[in-house]
């Protein structure tokens, strides 16, 4: 049985009210989203701003209430839980936010931040909490003595490590990572991505990874769902999706990402026009206003999300007729032989240094 099963999730926000409080306009943030996630696996929700990916992640945790649909976690119907049961459920599912500057209380030390979930859920007797905090800090690669520091004394990457440690404090089965590395510099980003993967292997965590960055998603996800204007347009195993994206929107997204490879040979699908508003999504297929393969049928009839035998599902009337997507990404060859050797040497040496003292980077806070 899957750890998480989401079926027909709908959330419309009221965008405008009349003088008497009657709703005049709705933002259809999430409109019929279904997916499932196995324990220990990573599902990535990808799409551009306003596609509803963050709303889905909050609905799954019941941080906001859906208008309709069901969320089953470990067989239990989340929407039927009373407040006490809901609080107990929060032990099993946690969230990490994009901005570690905003998600940590500036008036609490790292130690207090990590003690709070332990006390709230009464997981560890008070006498042992300090030891558990030290253990959590070590788990995310920080030195235990840093527990006395306040968030402003840490760098962005270290703060995100604390946010991860806080999520891990309750020993959850599922962590929702909402753009966890988008606010970080590239060299720090790789540290956090490596950490998330290592923790998954070690603790058997399941992740829902919300991101707009497909290169990051390719690195971390087992399964990918591409969202556009509140709906999933394509979902597949990550390898299958990146090898041959089917939906025209997935193709456009993949081909829009600049590759760090000058003069790479690839087909590009350049979209015209702007992202339509979720306030008033287009009729028929919601992508038809920007789709280079649009036909009359797309304007009137919304396509269903249909899966083939391998579980690769696409919501497009023209799935079968579209040209091959092989050339959207070059098969390999991103690294020249010289670069591959240099990177290997670089990593080998730094790994040696890192094992000598985990959290070596914790010795001096940034001054910027």
């Amino acid at each position: 049985m899957a750890l998480l099963e989401v079926d027909g999730l709908v959330k419309h926000f009221v965008a405008e009210r009349s003088l008497f409080g009657r709703a005049l306009a709705h933002v259809k943030a999430v409109d019929g989203v279904s997916f499932s996630l196995e324990a220990g696996k990573t599902l990535a929700l990808v799409g551009e701003s306003g596609c509803g990916k963050s709303t889905v992640s909050r609905l799954v945790l019941r941080l906001i209430e859906p208008d309709s649909g069901t969320v089953r976690f470990d067989g239990r119907d989340l929407l039927a839980l009373d407040p006490n049961a809901l609080r107990a459920f929060r032990r099993e599912a946690q969230i990490i936010f994009q901005d570690p500057y905003a998600s940590l209380n500036p008036r609490m030390t790292a130690g207090q931040i990590l003690t709070e979930p332990l006390a709230l859920h009464d997981l560890v007797p008070p006498a042992q909490r300090r030891a558990r905090v030290a253990e959590l800090l070590r788990l995310v690669g920080l030195e235990p003595r840093l527990a006395r520091r306040y968030p402003h004394e840490f760098s962005g990457g270290q703060r995100q490590r604390i946010a991860i440690a806080r999520a891990l404090a309750v020993e959850p089965k599922l962590i929702i990572c909402d753009e966890p590395v988008s606010a970080l510099d590239v060299s720090i980003r790789s540290q956090i991505l490596n950490l998330l993967r290592e923790l998954q292997d070690r603790l058997g965590l399941a992740y829902i990874f919300v991101s707009h960055d497909l290169a990051v998603v390719k690195h971390i996800a087992d399964h990918v769902a591409v969202m556009n204007l509140g709906q999933i347009v394509e979902t597949a195993e990550a390898d299958a999706l990146f090898a041959s994206p089917r939906h025209p929107y997935s193709r456009a997204l993949l081909s829009a990402i600049p590759l760090p490879q000058p003069k790479a040979k690839r087909t590009t699908v350049l979209l015209e026009g702007e992202i339509p508003s979720a306030l008033n999504p287009p009729a028929g297929c919601r992508f038809h206003t920007r789709c280079p393969f649009v036909i009359e049928r797309c304007r009137n009839e919304a396509p269903a999300l249909l899966a083939d035998g391998s579980g690769h599902a696409t919501a497009c009337h023209r799935t079968a007729e579209l040209p091959s997507a092989d050339a959207i990404l070059p098969a390999a060859g991103g690294f020249s032989p010289a670069l591959a050797k240099l990177v290997a040497a670089f990593s080998q040496k730094t790994e040696g240094a890192a094992t000598a003292g985990v959290g070596i980077q914790g010795t001096a806070p940034t001054t910027t």
Partner: protein, 329 residues
């Protein structure tokens, strides 16, 4: 590179004097040049000095707190010695800049047309009517649909991608010789980013302007730049033609950066990481500024600052261990 570059920066140093008397060395001995029609990518992580360098070129650093030395030669002038009045005539005219966040760089209380027209009238003069026609023409050039109508709209009515197009139209209003684009697509979604990058390539081909593109995204650099300068802790640590930088980098920091980005065109089980932190720029280290984080460090690295050496023609590296191929063969 042609004999006479359009802009040439020599030994640029910028220090900031903080209120508490602390001096931060934001940029140190930077040499750069860009030829007519060429695109230079300036890459590096937050705080490496890439934006400060561009603000110095534009003469936009605060005079009270920023101490600038060196020379910035543009078209026969040293911009650092140029009187403010002359600089004002250059900015928006022959020197133009696009910023990251189009919402904060457009004035919300004027229509986009007014803002473009103002630039044209300030530098070119002429009638308001002809300036308006030029504004509409510029909006058409950056692919804004129905520019005749859009010209009278306020910035808040436009989406992020549209606003960035307006910023580009405004920057191009007086046919600049040099365009500085500071993270022009960072705030945009990927499909819009692709449109803006395509537009920049198109405009470069049409106008022959030189471009300095500041970004942290190595993918963007690979797509639009001819040459790249990598900055770390206020210094240029590597400068190379774009192909060479990506195929055979000559500075360990560049190697670390290239190894640490997840890529669509490469599968890596484990990403490279750059351990440690950027040095405190109030007291920069005596030797190489990357030494504390460098896996290839030698004792000699920490004693004296390494010079920028030419590893191969046009490829410079501030590393005493370059060429790095020697380390892995």
């Amino acid at each position: 590179m042609s004999a006479a570059p359009l802009i040439e920066i020599k030994d640029l140093r910028i220090c900031f004097h903080g209120d508490d008397g602390r001096i931060t060395h934001a940029v140190d001995s930077v040499d750069l040049s860009v030829a007519n029609g060429a695109t230079l990518g300036l890459v590096g992580e937050s705080g490496c000095g890439k934006s400060v360098t561009s603000l110095a070129i534009m003469g936009l650093l605060p005079k009270q707190s920023a101490e600038i030395s060196g020379a910035i030669r543009f078209d026969g002038l040293d911009l650092l010695q140029t009187p403010d009045q002359t600089l004002r005539n250059l900015r928006g005219n022959r020197l133009a800049m696009i910023f990251q966040e189009p919402m904060t760089s457009l004035n919300p209380s004027f229509t986009i047309g007014d803002q473009i027209i103002e630039t044209i009238l300030r530098h070119r003069g002429g009638s308001r009517k002809s300036a308006r026609e030029r504004a509409i023409e510029l909006l058409r050039r950056v692919h804004i649909p129905s520019p005749e109508r859009r010209v009278d709209e306020y910035p808040h009515k436009l989406s992020g991608g549209m606003r960035q197009r307006v910023m580009i139209a405004m920057a191009l209003a007086c046919d600049p010789r040099l365009l500085i684009a500071d993270e022009p697509t960072t705030a945009l979604d990927v499909t819009l980013q692709a449109q803006i990058l395509e537009l920049m390539r198109e405009l470069k081909a049409a106008s022959g302007a030189a471009i300095i593109l500041i970004t942290h995204d190595l993918g963007v650099v690979a797509e639009v730049c001819d040459e790249v300068a990598v900055m770390y802790a206020g210094e240029i640590v590597e400068r190379a033609p774009v192909d060479e930088l990506f195929s055979a980098p000559q500075h360990p920091y560049t190697v670390g950066l290239l190894g640490s980005i997840p890529r669509l065109d490469h599968r890596a089980e484990q990403l490279a990481t750059i351990e440690g932190m950027v040095p405190n720029m109030a007291q920069p280290p005596a030797g190489c500024r990357f030494a504390a984080r460098c896996p290839f460090v030698l004792d000699a690295c920490t004693t004296a600052p390494p010079p920028l050496i030419e590893v191969s023609p046009g490829h410079l590296s501030r590393c005493i261990r370059a060429p790095l191929e020697r380390l892995v063969s």
